[in-house]
C-alpha cells in the first residue's frame, strides 16, 4: 500500500482552494541575478517517497533550478530562473500534494531555535567537562591540583554563562524592568551568585566550588526550553501552512479593457474587479454586472447562500459560488469588513492578556521566599559565628539548592509532552498558557455555521423523492457548483441518467437542461415554474410543473452532539451564538441538545455576550470559525477554531484542530486537565524537595556533591512524572483506529 496516495475526495476538496499562478507570482521573492524563489506549504507531504516525487517532478520543469522539501515544516522551496512562472502549483496538485501560500516573514529559518540550540550545545559541552573535573575533586584531588581544576572549571563556565545564560538574563531583565517576576529571575540570580562565590573561593584556594551546579542547571533548563520552543513552532507552522482563505489579490479591469492581477493592498475604491466563480471577494464591493450566489457562512454565519445581481453590495471574504461577477471596489482592504473585525478583536482582547501563567504566579511567591531564606541564613550565621565568608557560603548554598531547577522544568516539560499528545490528535496549541486557561474554562460558547455544523447542506428528504426523478436532478445538479446542487449530486451518487442538452446554469436561480422535448429546471421554485408557484425552497420542475421538492439541513459536525453533552456535564453551561436565522438555529440547537442559544447576532453582539458571561465570573471557552467570530475568539478566556476557519480566526484562536470531528474539543480539554494535574504534582514534588533540602543547606551541610545529586535527582523525578502523560497517550492511540485524514 502506498502511504502517499491521497484519497480522491480529499483532493477534490483541496483543488477549489489552490492559489492561482498570479498569486504565486506576487508572493515570489526576487533573489537578484535573475532568479526567483517561492515557498509553498504542502501539508500532505509526509515521507521519503513524497519528498522524492515532489522534488523530481518540480526539478524537471523548465527553468526550475532547485526544489527542496522541508519535511519538518511541510514546505517546499522552489527556485527558478527568469520572469516566467513554471507551472509549480498545477504540477504539485497533479501529484496529489495541493500547495498553499502562507504568510510568514522568515524564510524557513528560525533564529530563536538556532540560538537555543547553540546555547544547549555550549552549556552541554561546559557541563560535561566541568562535571569531569568536579568528579576528580570529589574523589579527593587536593591542594594545587584542586585549585587547577577549579580554575579550569571557572574558565569553561564563563563563556557558558555568557552565551547560554544570556537567554535567562535577557528574560529576567525584561520582566524585572516591568516590576514583575518570572521563573527566570531566581534562575539568573542563582547561577550568577553561584559563579561569583565559586570564583571567590577559587581565588582563595577554597575547598568547594559550585561551577558544576551552575552550568548543569543551565543545561537542563535549556533542554526543557528548547523542546518547548520546537513543539510550539511545529504547531505554529502547521497552522500557518493551512490553506489561506483571504485572497491575496484580484484581477483588475482597466478602462481600456486590459486585465491586470494586483495585490489586495493596491486595490483602490472605484476599481473594477473580476471575480470568477470559486474565488473569494477581495474587498467590500458593489456588483456591476453578472449574477451569482454567495456563500457568506464564513463572514456572517448564514448557512444559506445568498443570490446577488447587479447593484448588490458584497462583503470581503464571501465566496463567489456560481457565476463570474464584475464588481466595483467600495473600500480599500484596510477599511473592509475584515479590517473592521481586526479592530474589534484588538479592542476586545482582555481576559487573555491579564492571565498570568501558573509558573509565573508560583515564582512570584517562590522567589521572595527563597531569597529571604538565603538572607536570613546569612544573618543567622553571622550572629552565630561571625565568620562572614562561612555565612555567605552557606547562604549561597541555600540559593543553589533552592534554585528552581525542578521548578523551572516542572511546567514546560509537562506542556511539551501535552502539546505533543495534542499534535498527534491533530490539535495545534499556540502556547502553554493556552492549555492552562483551557483547563480553567467553566462555560462553553459555540458558533453554529462551520463549527457545530460543517457549513455544508445535506439533502434530508431523498427517500421522499422518486429514484428516477432523483437521478434526473442529480444529472442536472452535477453541472452546478452551487452547494445545494452538490448536495443532491452527492446524495444520489453517480447514476446513468438521460443525455442532457443545452444545460446552463443561471446564477442566483438554478440549472436548466433538456432531455429530448422536456425542459427540466432545478432551482428556486419561482424561477423553475416561471413564476407560477409562489413558494420558497428548491424544486425540480418539468416544463414549468413541479415534480419534486428538496429539503436540506446543514450537516452537523461528527461528534457534535456527544461533545456538547460532555461539555455540559463536565465544564459548564453550553451556549450557541450565531449570525444565522432563528429558524436554522432552533433546528441545530434542538438536534444537538443546546438549550441556550441566540440567533442573528452581529460580531459585536457575540463579544458583548462573552463579556457579559465574563462579568458573571465565567471563564469562557469559545469555539468558532467565521470572520464574525474572530473578535469573540479574541475576547474569550480561551478559544478554539477548526482548520477550515477564516485565517484571522485561526490566528486568534489558542487551539486549531485539523480533523473534522468536534470531539477535538473534549480531547483538548481532557489533555489540558491532565496536564494541569501533572503540573501541580510536579510543583508539589519540587516544593517537597525544597522542604527537605533547605534545612540541610541552612545548617551548612551542603557540599557541591550533595547539591549536584539533589538537583539532578529532583529534575529526573519531575521529567519522569511528566512522561506519564505520554505513556497514557500511547495506550490511547493504540486503542483507536488510524487517524482520519487531515482536513486541508
Amino acid at each position: 500500500m502506498s502511504c502517499c496516495a491521497p484519497s480522491s475526495d480529499h483532493l477534490a476538496a483541496a483543488l477549489t482552494a489552490l492559489p492561482s499562478d498570479e498569486e504565486v507570482a506576487v508572493a515570489a521573492r526576487d533573489l537578484g541575478d535573475g532568479t526567483r524563489q517561492i515557498e509553498l506549504s504542502v501539508p500532505t507531504v509526509h515521507c521519503a517517497a513524497c519528498i522524492r516525487s515532489v522534488e523530481t517532478a518540480l526539478a524537471k520543469l523548465d527553468d526550475v533550478q532547485t526544489a527542496r522539501v522541508n519535511l519538518s515544516t511541510r514546505r517546499v522551496s522552489v527556485r527558478w530562473r527568469g520572469d516566467r512562472l513554471p507551472p509549480i502549483v498545477s504540477t504539485l496538485a497533479g501529484l496529489g500534494y495541493p500547495p498553499n501560500l502562507f504568510d510568514d516573514a522568515q524564510d524557513g529559518r528560525d533564529p530563536v531555535l538556532s540560538e537555543l540550540l547553540r546555547a544547549v550545545a555550549v552549556s552541554g559541552f561546559a557541563a560535561a567537562n566541568i562535571m569531569l573535573l568536579s568528579v576528580s575533586v570529589w574523589s579527593g584531588a587536593e591542594g594545587a591540583t584542586r585549585d587547577l581544576f577549579h580554575w579550569v572549571s571557572a574558565l569553561i563556565a564563563l563563556p557558558a554563562l555568557a552565551i547560554a545564560g544570556r537567554i535567562y538574563y535577557r528574560s529576567a531583565w525584561s520582566v524585572l524592568r516591568r516590576g514583575r517576576m518570572n521563573m527566570d529571575v531566581p534562575i539568573a540570580i542563582g547561577i550568577t551568585l553561584a559563579y561569583a562565590l565559586s570564583l571567590y573561593d577559587t581565588v582563595h584556594s577554597g575547598e568547594h566550588a559550585y561551577f558544576d551546579a551552575s552550568v548543569t542547571l543551565l543545561f537542563f533548563l535549556l533542554i526543557g526550553r528548547t523542546l518547548d520552543h520546537v513543539m510550539r513552532n511545529k504547531a505554529r507552522a502547521a497552522v500557518a501552512g493551512l490553506a489561506r482563505l483571504a485572497p491575496r489579490g484580484a484581477l483588475v479591469l482597466a478602462a481600456d479593457g486590459s486585465r491586470d492581477y494586483r495585490p489586495v493592498t493596491e486595490i483602490e475604491p472605484g476599481m473594477r474587479l473580476l471575480v470568477a466563480a470559486g474565488e473569494r471577494i477581495p474587498v467590500d464591493a458593489r456588483v456591476v454586472a453578472g449574477a451569482s450566489d454567495l456563500d457568506c457562512s464564513l463572514v456572517n454565519g448564514e448557512s444559506a447562500p445568498q443570490a446577488v445581481a447587479a447593484g448588490s453590495t458584497v462583503r470581503a471574504g464571501t465566496l463567489n459560488l456560481t457565476g463570474p461577477l464584475t464588481v466595483t471596489a467600495t473600500a480599500r482592504a484596510e477599511s473592509s469588513f475584515l479590517a473592521e473585525m481586526v479592530r474589534l478583536m484588538e479592542a476586545a482582547e482582555g481576559g487573555r492578556a491579564r492571565y498570568r501563567r501558573l509558573a509565573d504566579r508560583v515564582s512570584a511567591l517562590y522567589a521572595p521566599v527563597v531569597h529571604l531564606t538565603a538572607l536570613l541564613t546569612f544573618l543567622g550565621w553571622m550572629i552565630a559565628g561571625g565568620d562572614w565568608h562561612r555565612a555567605i557560603t552557606v547562604a549561597i548554598a541555600v540559593l543553589i539548592i533552592t534554585c528552581p531547577c525542578a521548578l523551572g522544568l516542572a511546567v514546560p516539560i509537562v506542556q511539551v509532552v501535552a502539546a505533543r499528545r495534542l499534535f498527534e490528535n491533530g490539535i495545534m496549541v499556540k502556547d502553554g498558557a493556552a492549555m492552562e486557561r483551557l483547563a480553567e474554562a467553566d462555560a462553553a460558547v459555540f458558533d453554529k455555521t462551520g463549527t457545530l455544523t460543517l457549513g455544508r447542506p445535506r439533502l434530508t428528504n431523498a427517500h421522499e423523492v422518486a429514484p428516477r426523478l432523483l437521478g434526473i436532478a442529480a444529472g442536472l445538479a452535477a453541472h452546478s457548483r452551487h452547494p445545494l446542487s452538490q448536495a443532491i449530486a452527492a446524495q444520489a451518487g453517480v447514476a446513468s441518467g438521460p443525455d442532457w442538452e443545452d444545460v446552463r446554469e443561471l446564477p442566483g436561480f438554478g440549472v436548466e437542461g433538456r432531455t429530448g422535448e422536456a425542459l427540466w429546471r432545478l432551482g428556486r421554485a419561482g424561477w423553475a415554474t416561471d413564476g407560477r408557484a409562489d413558494e420558497a425552497g428548491t424544486v425540480l420542475a418539468r416544463d414549468g410543473g413541479i415534480v419534486a421538492r428538496f429539503a436540506y439541513e446543514d450537516e452537523t459536525r461528527p461528534g457534535a452532539r456527544a461533545t456538547v453533552a460532555a461539555l455540559a456535564a463536565d465544564v459548564g453551561p453550553v451556549e450557541m451564538l450565531s449570525g444565522d436565522t432563528e429558524e436554522a438555529c432552533r433546528r441545530v440547537a434542538g438536534e444537538l441538545g443546546i438549550g441556550n442559544w441566540r440567533s442573528g447576532l452581529l460580531p459585536a453582539d457575540k463579544v458583548a455576550r462573552i463579556e457579559e458571561l465574563a462579568r458573571q465570573g465565567h471563564r469562557v471557552l469559545m469555539v468558532g470559525d467565521g470572520l464574525n467570530d474572530a473578535p469573540a475568539l479574541g475576547a474569550a478566556h480561551v478559544s478554539m477554531a477548526p482548520a477550515t476557519a477564516a485565517d484571522i480566526g485561526r490566528n486568534a484562536a489558542d487551539f486549531v484542530f485539523l480533523h473534522s470531528s468536534l470531539s477535538a474539543v473534549t480531547t483538548a480539554l481532557d489533555v489540558a486537565g491532565r496536564a494541569g494535574r501533572l503540573i501541580r504534582q510536579n510543583i508539589a514534588i519540587a516544593i517537597v524537595y525544597n522542604v527537605i533540602a533547605v534545612p540541610v543547606a541552612i545548617l551548612g551541610h551542603v557540599t557541591p556533591l550533595i547539591a549536584a545529586i539533589a538537583m539532578s535527582g529532583s529534575s529526573i523525578l519531575v521529567i519522569a512524572n511528566a512522561l506519564r502523560l505520554m505513556r497514557t497517550a500511547r495506550r490511547g492511540a493504540a486503542a483507536r483506529p488510524a487517524a482520519e485524514p487531515v482536513a486541508a
Binding site: I51, R118, A121, F125
Partner: protein
Amino acid sequence: MSILVYLIPVALFLGGISLLAFLWALRSGQYDDMDGAAQRILLDDDEAGGTRADERVIL
C-alpha cells in the same frame, strides 16, 4: 601530576572541536529539517532523473 598539564588541554581541545563542528552544522542549516533528514536516507541518489514523477516507492 604534570601529565594533567597536557591531558586537560587535550581533552578540552577535542571537546571544543566537536562543539565547533556542531555549531558549524547548525549554521549551515543541517538542523533546519530534522524530520526530512531522517527520511531522505531512504532515497537513492543515483536514480535522480531516472524515475517518472508518478512512480511511487512502496515502502
